[in-house]
C-alpha cells in the first residue's frame, strides 16, 4: 500500500491534543499527520478558508464539538430552561451549513456525533421527554445532523456512542476536563482513531473486498469428511451450533454490503458441497460464494487461484481459518492478505468478524448489492470461453452492449467509487471526492462519460470512465478507467473510440493521453502501447491524430 502521509485537520471546542497524538502515532494504514486548529474557535475556523490550518490542502478534517458549545439553545436546555425543539433544530441546520462550507475545500470531513457525559442525567425519568429531556433532544439533534449531512457526499457522521461504550468507565474524566479541557478519556480517542482510519482507508479505495473462508470448524463445527453433513455442529439447541449460525449470518450481512465470500477448504469437493446444499441450518448457500477451491492442495495457492479468478489482489483479501498452521502458512506466503488472529472458541467467531475494521465502504451502490451475482455471471462467461474455438467467437457470442452516459447525480456515486478504487486500467489514478468529480465534469473545458457494460450473461453495471480536457488544438484524455471485471473484452477500444469520436467533433488536431505510472497500472500502459502506430509513445505520453476515426470493435454495440 502507498505510504504517502495524509494530513487531517482537527477542529474542536475542546482540547484534542491527545487525540492528535494518537492519530499521528498510530502505526496502522493510512499514515496521517494531525494538524490541530486552535481549540475553542470552531465557528471562525469553519468560516474562514484562509485560516492557517486549511493551508496546504489537507486531505481530511475531523470536526468534533460538544453540543452545548455549537448549539446555544442546547446550552439553555442544559440549565433546564425550556426551549422549543424547533429552535434547537434550526440551530443544528445552521451548524450544518458551516460544515457544508468546509466540505468544499477539504476532501473528506468526519463529524463525530454529539454526546453528553453519562453523569449529566440527573432527572432520569424526564431524560427522554420531548423538549425537556436532554437525551431526547440530543438524539433528535444527532438525527437532524445526519439527515442534513446526507446531502453532502463527502461528510460522514461517526458514532461517538460506540467509542464511549468501548471505553467503559474511562470514557469521561472530569479530571482531564478541569485540568486540561479534554472532554474524553484516552480510550475514547483510541477507538475514534481506529474508526476514522478505517473509514479513511475505505475512502482511499483500500477496503478489503473478499473474505476467503475455511469450512471445517470455521463455518460449521466438526470435520464433514469424518462425521457426515448430518452430524455437523450447526444450529439447533446448542450454544456452539448457534454461534456458527450467527457467524454465517454475520458473513451474509457483510456479503449483502458488497463484500465477496469464497471458500478454500481441504476436503472432498463433493462432500463439502453436499453439506452446503443439504444442511438445513446453513445460512450461507452455494450462490453466496463467488468462488471456491475445495481440494487437498496448498491453501495459499488456492487463495492465489481464487484471487486471479475474481480479479482481486492480496491487498483486497481476508483469510479466515480456525487452524493456526494454515493461517501462518498464508501469512508467510501472502503477506498482503489480511489474516486475523482467530479465537479458539467459536462463541467469539461472530464478534471477531464484526470487529474487523477493514470493510469500510463510503457509499453503497447498486453494483455493491449484486456483486456476487456479477462474479457468478463471470464464471459462466469463462465456461463459454473454454467451450468456443477462438477469442473473437467468444466475444461475438457474448453480445456486449456498452451504454455511454454523461455524469449525473444518479450515476455519480458509482462513478466516484470506480474512480477511487480502480488501480489497473487507470491512466492517471487521480482520486477525487464525488463533489470534486462533479465539479470537474461540469467545467466547460472538460467532458466525462461513464460506460455501463452488459452482455447476455448479465449487467456488469457502470464499469468505465473516460474523460477529456479540451485544449487549444488538442484534447487530453485525463481519465481512462475500466474495472478489471470487464477487462479483456475490447471495451477499452470502445472507450477510446468514444473519446476520439468527440475529439473529431471538436475538430482538434491531436489527442493525447498522459500515462502516470503507479505500482499497479501497467495494464493501462500495455494497452496504449498496443495501439501503435495509431498512437505514438513520446515519453510517458501517447499521441494520436485527432481527425482519424477510431473504430468501435464489431462485437460491441455502443449505445448513447
Amino acid at each position: 500500500m502507498a505510504k504517502q502521509q495524509h494530513t487531517c485537520v482537527l477542529v474542536s471546542d475542546f482540547n484534542l491534543q491527545n487525540f492528535a497524538g494518537y492519530v499521528t502515532n498510530d502505526p496502522e494504514f493510512p499514515p496521517i499527520k494531525a494538524i490541530v486548529a486552535p481549540f475553542g474557535q470552531t465557528g471562525s475556523t469553519l468560516l474562514h478558508k484562509d485560516a492557517p490550518c486549511w493551508q496546504n490542502s489537507p486531505d481530511a478534517a475531523v470536526i468534533w464539538t460538544q453540543p452545548q458549545s455549537v448549539i446555544s439553545a442546547y446550552k439553555t436546555l442544559l440549565s433546564y430552561e425550556q426551549v422549543p425543539l424547533q429552535t434547537v433544530l434550526n440551530q443544528v441546520d445552521e451548524y450544518c451549513s458551516l460544515l457544508a462550507n468546509i466540505s468544499k475545500w477539504v476532501k473528506y470531513v468526519f463529524v463525530p456525533s454529539w454526546v453528553l457525559p453519562s453523569y449529566r442525567s440527573v432527572f432520569g425519568v424526564l431524560d427522554m421527554k420531548t423538549e425537556i429531556g436532554l437525551t431526547n433532544t440530543l438524539m433528535r439533534m444527532n438525527l437532524r445532523l445526519a439527515e442534513n449531512i446526507e446531502k453532502a457526499s463527502n461528510i460522514y457522521v461517526l458514532n461517538t456512542h460506540k467509542w464511549i461504550e468501548q471505553a467503559g468507565n474511562q470514557a469521561f474524566s472530569p479530571k482531564l476536563w478541569y485540568l486540561g479541557k479534554i472532554v474524553f478519556g484516552n480510550e475514547v480517542f483510541k477507538s475514534a482513531v481506529r474508526d476514522i482510519k478505517a473509514a479513511f482507508s475505505g475512502l482511499l479505495g483500500y477496503a478489503r473486498k473478499l473474505i476467503v473462508l475455511d469450512l471445517d470448524d470455521t463455518l460449521w463445527g466438526g470435520i464433514v469428511g469424518d462425521v457426515g453433513w448430518e452430524n455437523l455442529v450447526l444450529g439447533g439447541h446448542h450454544h456452539l451450533g448457534e454461534a456458527y449460525v450467527d457467524f454465517q449470518q454475520a458473513l451474509k450481512s457483510i456479503k449483502n454490503r458488497g463484500i465477496l465470500l469464497a471458500l478454500a477448504s481441504k476436503n472432498e469437493e463433493q462432500v463439502a458441497l453436499e453439506a452446503i446444499g443439504k444442511h438445513p441450518e446453513m445460512v450461507l448457500k452455494l450462490e453466496d460464494f463467488a468462488g471456491w477451491r475445495i481440494n487437498w492442495l496448498d491453501k495459499a495457492q488456492n487463495i492465489v487461484d481464487l484471487m486471479t479468478e475474481l480479479n482481486l489482489g492480496p491487498q483486497s483479501t481476508v483469510f479466515i481459518d480456525d487452524n493456526p498452521a494454515e493461517r501462518e502458512r498464508v501469512k508467510e506466503s501472502l503477506p498482503e492478505v489480511l489474516v486475523p488472529d482467530w479465537p479458539e472458541d467459536p462463541l467469539f467467531y461472530p464478534s471477531a468478524l464484526l470487529s474487523l475494521r477493514c470493510f469500510e465502504i463510503p457509499s453503497l451502490s447498486q453494483e455493491d448489492l449484486v456483486r456476487t451475482t456479477l462474479y457468478l455471471s463471470e464464471n459462466k462467461r469463462q465456461t463459454l470461453k473454454k467451450a468456443v474455438g477462438s477469442l473473437d467467437e467468444w466475444l461475438t457470442r457474448l453480445g456486449i452492449r456498452v451504454q455511454i452516459e454523461e455524469l449525473h447525480p444518479a450515476n455519480l456515486q458509482r462513478a466516484g467509487q470506480l474512480l477511487n478504487k480502480t488501480n489497473q486500467m487507470n491512466l492517471s489514478t487521480r482520486r477525487l471526492s464525488e463533489a470534486e468529480l462533479m465539479a470537474w465534469a461540469e467545467d466547460k473545458h472538460h467532458r466525462l462519460w461513464t460506460l455501463r457494460v452488459s452482455d447476455k450473461f448479465g449487467d456488469a453495471g457502470l464499469t468505465g470512465i473516460v474523460s477529456l480536457e479540451i485544449q487549444d488544438q488538442s484534447v487530453q484524455i485525463v481519465d481512462f478507467i475500466l474495472s478489471c471485471r470487464v477487462m479483456g473484452r475490447k471495451i477499452e477500444e470502445a472507450m477510446l473510440a468514444t473519446a476520439i469520436h468527440h475529439a473529431r467533433e471538436l475538430g482538434v488536431e491531436g489527442v493525447y493521453a498522459r500515462y502516470i505510472p503507479t505500482p499497479k497500472n501497467k495494464p493501462c500502459l500495455d494497452f496504449f502501447k498496443s495501439l501503435a502506430p495509431r498512437f505514438q509513445q513520446q515519453g510517458e505520453s501517447f499521441i494520436g491524430d485527432g481527425k482519424m476515426p477510431f473504430p468501435v470493435p464489431k462485437h460491441i454495440e455502443l449505445v448513447y
Partner: protein
C-alpha cells in the same frame, strides 16, 4: 504495601501509555533519573496533566490503592514531585505509606 519495584513498574506502564501520544523525538525514557519537568524535562503542561491522570488511574488499577495528585499539597511542590520518575515514585511511596498508617 506495594514494594518500590511495583511502583516503578506502574510508572513505566504510565510512560508506555504517554509515549503513544508523543512523537518519536519526544519519547520519554523509562529511566528513574531522567528529568521530566523543569528546564531539561520533556513534559510540557499538557504532558504533565496526562502524567498525573494516568498515574492516578494506573496506581488504582495496578496497585489497588487510589492516590490523589491534584490536591494543594502536591500542586504546591510540582517541581519536586514530578522532577523525575524517581522523585514521583518516592512521593507515591510516601502517599501509600500514609494511607497504610491511617
Amino acid at each position: 504495601m506495594a514494594p518500590r519495584e511495583n511502583i516503578t513498574r506502574t510508572l513505566f506502564n504510565v510512560i508506555d501509555e504517554l509515549n503513544q501520544l508523543r512523537s518519536t523525538e519526544e519519547q520519554l525514557e523509562k529511566n528513574l533519573a531522567a528529568p521530566l519537568t523543569g528546564d531539561s524535562g520533556r513534559l510540557d503542561s499538557a504532558g504533565l496533566i496526562n502524567l498525573i491522570v494516568l498515574t492516578e488511574q494506573k496506581t488504582a488499577e495496578e496497585l489497588g490503592m487510589p492516590i490523589l495528585l491534584t490536591d494543594d499539597r502536591t500542586m504546591s511542590q510540582v517541581k519536586e514531585v514530578f522532577g523525575t520518575l524517581g522523585t514521583l515514585a518516592e512521593y507515591i511511596q510516601r502517599l501509600l505509606n500514609e494511607k497504610r498508617d491511617g
